[in-house]
Amino acid sequence: MTVQFKPAETFRDTFTYRKSPEDILRFPFPFPEDEYMYSVNIEPHVRGGPTAAFQAAFDIDEHYIAECRERERVLKEDPKRCQVLPHMMAAEWDSLELIMESLAQDYPEHFSLTKAGDLWTWVNRPLNIHQSFTFGKAETLPCGPFEYITRQAQGDFTLQDQRDDNLFVDGGMVTTQADWSLEFDIGMSFHEWHGPVPLAHEKGVFDRALKYLLRLQCGQPVRRLNWTMTVNPRLDTSPENYPVWGPDKASVTPDNVAEKVHLRVELQTLYRLPRSNAILFGIRCYLTSVADIARVPKWRRRLHRVLRDLHPDIAAYKGLPRFRQTVLDYLAPLDDGEPTSKGIAPDTDVLAG
């Protein structure tokens, strides 16, 4: 795989982030049908899926270096965007082992991991890292094991402790989130941290999802897709920084809507960890502008239909009202009413326009 990294891309201020054609086609478009409602849309996380984003355990793409640099900036501005409660140290080591082994297996051209007993050596070529350390001894790493490895992965991660027939978000690296606060939510139970989501509670979605996750076993990870929309390809849309990015939402006009408004998708993966019995929850974030979506005929039809018929409570919760109509006005003429296939695959390997 010959990915061309774009290390200088920015996700704030100048917003120089752009997607290559291959990058657009590997996007995990979130809608398998022409309408959307909350469901327990969990499936086994196997290597392979409808687009190339599903190929690896933890996906690396052309934005890898730029995203790691953006994460570094966020943490410098606010170290509390990464926190782990003290009783979760075993889960930190579990996560480090899982992510390092997965990256080395999926991307041997970029990462390697060698072990001599508990003396490990980790090489990350894109980030120029060569680190030897003793597994299990936190003082042999420059920072906590969870922070150490998640600084070298794309997307957010949380650590969930399982106890009392419940899951608790007892740790996280949260710098690319769609508007939730780790500092506020850390320590919450499953239903508590999902508290603000409309409709899904009444449908029993969270009750069923929790029961399912409590039975998750090592070696059988699962995944699902979540989505929202963001103005500008901004990764840090945290509540903390809402005063900074809030004005973006009111800046959408018919002239800039296609370039500015992005479909923001989370490929969420869930892994049971062996020593701690915790769950590692990966929240891998992808951004594609409406203009780029429009270059895939199936996706532009479907996005139009989903947004047009979306339940207003869901639209409100996802922060869409200010610009939803402007997006619809742009997409409507591009929707010729033709049928669309089930599933999320683009059904093409060339882009229109």
Binding site: A90, F135, Y212, Q220
Partner: protein, 318 residues
């Protein structure tokens, strides 16, 4: 949940720890390393004795950092269904067996201030895998192993590598001499108790702890699951014109897929609703979290990924 691809394992060595206790050590049959085993985890070994196939659960006793081998300890049981007898008498180094991936239904609590472990006889096995993990965490613990007089030295030898202080004790005086209530009463707030052994011991520990005011979430016992699998039955797929036998440890969905029918499914764990299939005839044993109480009582649909038949036969509109 479905088990994922099983492991092929080769017997590395067999060590007799006592006349009825053997430790079996396995390595990956095709080289490489095992996945990191969960603390408190167990594996299902498939034992083929001629035409007879048995699947038995054994706790892994090897430490999590040890991935070149998985160890179990098997007690030869006089009235065994054949599993322990087969292992003790018919399995030799070099033999290759099928082993399901380790599963853990008996984990160590991360937020415990102290772990109190109580084992009886062969029940020591899941507790053995806790010891290296507790040491790695620097966790506060106490372990009490109950054994018959003759086996006290056997368990003391097994536990010796971890017995650095006063935390580990092997008791040979029988249950009457073991002051269970006193032990449980003096534990500080935040202690979790874990018990594995004969049913009478597990009931005594869980019952006494509850009576002394320990909350349910801090009392743990190893039951190896139990709710998966069931009696074999026949599934008739009316539209496909096929009949499949659903085995004891196989799900209805797996049997349908094995017969080459592409049945709908998604989560494979009874939560998402994708695999709901109409039932034409037969009584359903519902084990899912998706259908409502009315739907389950109505008996007209089944979630093929986790549910089974209550009787010998189910006819499905598939």
């Amino acid at each position: 949940m479905t088990a994922g691809a099983p492991l092929q394992v080769r017997v590395r060595d067999i060590v007799e720890l006592a006349p009825s206790l053997k430790r079996f050590s396995f390595e990956p049959a095709h080289g490489g390393l095992f996945p990191t085993p969960p603390a408190g985890g167990h594996v299902m070994l498939t034992l083929r004795d001629g035409a007879r196939v048995m699947k038995n659960a054994y706790s892994l006793v090897s430490p999590p950092m040890e991935r070149a081998r998985y160890d179990i300890i098997v007690r030869l049981v006089a009235q065994s269904r054949g599993g322990s007898d087969f292992l003790h008498r018919k399995v030799a180094p070099g033999d290759v067996l099928e082993m399901a991936r380790p599963v853990s239904l008996f984990p160590l609590a991360s937020s415990a201030k102290k772990h109190l472990l109580i084992g009886g006889g062969i029940g020591i096995t899941p507790l053995l895998s806790f010891l290296p993990e507790m040491k790695a965490r620097g966790a506060r613990f106490e372990l009490h192993q109950l054994a018959t007089g003759e086996e006290v030295p056997v368990f003391e030898r097994l536990l010796a590598p971890y017995a650095t202080g006063e935390e580990i004790r092997v008791h040979g005086g029988g249950r009457a001499a073991f002051d269970l209530a006193g032990l449980l009463s003096r534990q500080p707030l935040g202690t979790h108790v874990y018990v594995c052994g004969p049913h009478a011991l597990m009931d005594a520990v869980t019952g006494t702890a509850a009576a002394l005011g320990w909350p349910r979430g801090k009392i743990h016992k190893e039951s190896f699951g139990g709710a998966t699998g069931g009696l074999p039955f026949r599934a008739v797929l009316r539209r496909s014109g096929i009949e499949v036998e659903v085995g004891e440890t196989q799900t209805l969905l797996e049997a349908i897929e094995a017969a080459g029918v592409a049945a709908p499914c998604l989560c494979r764990g009874g939560a998402c609703g994708e695999c709901v299939t109409p039932v034409i005839e037969g009584e359903v044993d519902h084990r899912d979290d998706f259908l409502s109480a009315e739907e389950k009582a109505g008996g007209k649909v089944v979630m093929t990924c986790v549910s089974r038949a209550r009787g010998p036969r189910l006819v499905l509109d598939l």
